[in-house]
Amino acid sequence: MENEAKLTAGAMVTFAIAVSALVILPYVQVRDVKAPEGLKPYTSAELRGRASYIANGCVYCHSQQPRSESFAPDAKRGWGRASVPGDYYYDKPHLLGSMRTGPDLMNIGVRQPSKDWHLGHLYQPRAYVPGSIMPPYPYLFDIKDKAEPGEEAIKLPPGYTPPGKVVVPTPEALDLVRYLQALKRDYPILPPEPQEATGAKTSSVAPAPRPTPAS
């Protein structure tokens, strides 16, 4: 077994097996997933906000995949029911994330619908959440003497506005907040197959009123 043909062929076979198992089979399996009825496509403003979410790397600290109650108390924290493939129907690229340095954001629009809160929190997270280690995003805001017509200064807790100035969100900040507000997966979903719905039961806190699948 000492020749390059075997080496190359063998390496390619193991690789092909892995591609089939982890790329092609999932592709076949979720190809026909439909968007749930309650899920709306993103508006163009929300998509711009989503692009900003991606560009600034929010995904490296915030996941978008609440886990089932049998696994973690995500629902009890108000992060929502366990997500299903259909929830990501309009997500290109996916933003499932791999870290929870900050909380899961799959349902942040349900948990925190206030535009003012989001804008202020993006400007200075520690004005709202003491002990937060989220970076502030001053470059998404303009600091001016007064707001121009058509602009609206954000309302910050006392002591956070530069003296004598106002803080006005840029269009990018407004779009980003629109995207965050649109993160709502509180519509009911039907379990794909009845026998799979054994794992999790929805708690009173979770937004979804029906049992959800475990996986």
């Binding site: 193991t14 790329v23 979720v30 995949q65 299903v84 996986s215």
Partner: protein
């Protein structure tokens, strides 16, 4: 059908296949040891003659005296074979130097970006005025610079340098390799610029925009061509195990990258599955095989003893090729992906114990009674440290894939610590050792300040240990708090702060070690320090 019956059936079939493989391997004589294949890296008469180009003359003599064992012949190695090797080294010197130079630049840059990102996690209001400074971008710049810039360039250097040595012929197609290297580095630099400017594909490990990725893939193809051509025109009969790992790794990373970057194909949770299949395989099918292959060459070469078991090394190769390619799904435990996919990945993660043990037993037996040699040779010390960290990080990774461990560790800094143990404690330390070995041969020049090599080793190894231990502990605490529904989420942030600070301390030591290393590299490139006459021939150093 019931899943229990299915898994029983699967286990039954697997064991039948295993039985047949065992019978087949007995018939083929694969269980008989093959010392000739294991000695393929030595010239005739070379066994027993230690080889550490990073040592000065006196150091080499001390090392040789310590390494000499009863039964060693006093003969010099075969001069013709040594000449072939010198010719092979000369043919690859220029491209290899280019890759190492790029690697050093990215190491310094990426390390500083990483330290900055680490500091930002406990000084959140530091450096926030511009978009490119924000944590989400800084951390991604760090990742791209060290993964693609440092590790990939350094591994390409090792592959290009070892290929002609092991095939005993000069490298063919240097210009193509140089062009490939230029393309790869253009892609890395543009990718980092794009990420800093906010242009990214948004997938972890695949952030580099696919338009830029085309350059990366084209560069890799330019490199594969000459390597394969050199391979088929080789002068040796049988391939040494390092060549297996390196050739396969080169093919794997290129295909991985192309599959992962294909625009418009992947979507939704399938994209997530692909993302982590890629993310784990960059480590599993590129960083690991090349670094393991490097240890299989450098460690026995330095101590001048063949590895204990050649067949065990081949077993390690095939089991790694099969199992490692499928482990990525465990990153999505508890996520919205098909359950079978995660189970498959967890099973294969546990199976990864086989190649890791095959490697570790082999190295352990080769080094048995010779561990003290690490005191004489800094290059060997890097290799031993890296090999041991491979065992540690791989075993940790196997158990980390289990659902019960993931429940706590997933989404926390625990995973980050694990990733650094693999990419730094194991891979990067091996790369350092290999560069210390290769550079004197490439430049025909000695390392100007040998004491700096020890400084580098201790700064880097203490740094990564502080980093790993602190962050592992902090991450575990974080996971426990997150699972405890009675505690607010903010507690899970607060509990990590001291450990994030320790991470910055460890990271600062690592960056300091990089400064030492890159300074030393530059000093050598500019020909500081003592001259070495002629090709750096170990044979002339015999006592």
């Amino acid at each position: 059908m019931d899943s229990a019956i299915l898994s029983l059936l699967g286990a039954f079939l697997l064991s039948i296949i295993g039985l047949f493989v065992f019978i087949w391997s007995l018939r083929k004589g694969l269980l008989v040891e093959n010392p000739r294949a294991a000695s393929a890296i030595f010239a005739r008469g070379e066994i027993g003659h230690i080889d550490d180009p990073a040592l000065g003359h006196a150091g080499q003599q001390r090392f040789q005296a310590a390494a000499t064992e009863p039964g060693d012949s006093g003969h010099l190695p075969d001069a013709h074979e040594i000449e072939d090797r010198i010719a092979a080294d000369r043919s690859s010197a220029f491209p290899v130097f280019m890759f190492i130079a790029f690697a050093c630049m990215w190491l310094l840059f990426g390390g500083i970006a990483g330290l900055t990102a680490s500091l930002k996690l406990h000084w959140p209001d530091w450096l926030v005025s511009e978009a490119w400074m924000t944590f989400g971008r800084m951390r991604t710049v760090h990742l791209t610079a060290v993964l693609y810039g440092w590790i990939t360039n350094a591994e390409l250097a090792i592959i290009i340098w070892l290929m002609p040595r092991l095939l005993r012929r000069p490298l063919i197609g240097n210009m193509w390799i140089m062009m490939g290297g230029a393309l790869v580095n253009v892609a890395i630099a543009s990718g980092i610029g794009a990420i800093g400017a906010g242009w990214t594909d948004g997938l972890e490990y695949l952030e580099m925009p696919w338009q830029i990725g085309i350059f990366f893939a084209a560069g890799m193809v330019c490199i594969i061509g000459p390597v394969m051509y050199t391979l088929v025109n080789r002068k040796v009969e049988s391939l040494y195990v390092t060549t297996w790992y390196h050739t396969a790794g080169l093919l794997w990373i290129t295909l991985l990258f192309i599959v992962g970057k294909m625009p418009g194909v992947h979507f939704g949770v399938q994209q997530a599955a692909m993302n982590w299949w890629y993310g784990h395989n960059v480590l599993g099918l590129w960083f690991t095989p090349v670094a393991v292959g490097a240890i299989y060459y450098f460690l026995p070469k330095i101590i001048a003893r063949p590895i204990r078991s050649y067949n065990l090394s081949i077993l390690g190769f095939w089991t790694l090729a099969f199992f490692y390619a499928q482990v990525g799904g465990h990153h999505l435990v508890g996520g919205p992906v098909p359950g079978w996919l995660i189970t498959l990945s967890i099973v294969q993660s546990m199976m990864m114990i086989i190649p890791v043990l095959a490697f570790s037993i082999n190295m352990g037996l080769t080094m048995r009674g010779r561990m003290r040699l690490g005191m004489y040779s800094p290059t060997l010390r890097f290799m031993m440290f890296g090999g041991f960290m491979y065992l540690l990080s791989s075993l940790q990774g196997s158990f980390e894939a289990l659902r019960s461990v993931q429940q706590v560790a997933h989404f926390t800094h625990f995973t980050v610590a694990h990733a650094h143990l693999g990419a730094y404690g194991f891979v990067t330390m091996v790369l350092f050792g290999a560069i210390y070995f290769m550079m004197p041969r490439i430049m025909n020049w000695e390392w100007p300040y040998p004491r700096l090599i020890s400084w580098h080793f201790w700064l880097a190894s203490i740094g990564i240990m502080i980093y790993f231990v602190g962050l592992t502990y902090g991450g575990w605490l974080q996971g426990l708090v997150m699972l405890d529904e009675t505690r607010p989420f903010m507690d899970s942030v607060a509990v990590t702060i001291p450990w994030l600070q320790w991470r910055s301390v460890g990271g600062a030591l690592m960056v300091a070690s990089h400064l030492v290393f890159v300074f030393h590299f530059l000093a050598m490139a500019m020909r500081f320090g003592p001259n070495r006459a002629g090709a750096a021939l170990f044979a002339t150093q015999q006592p």
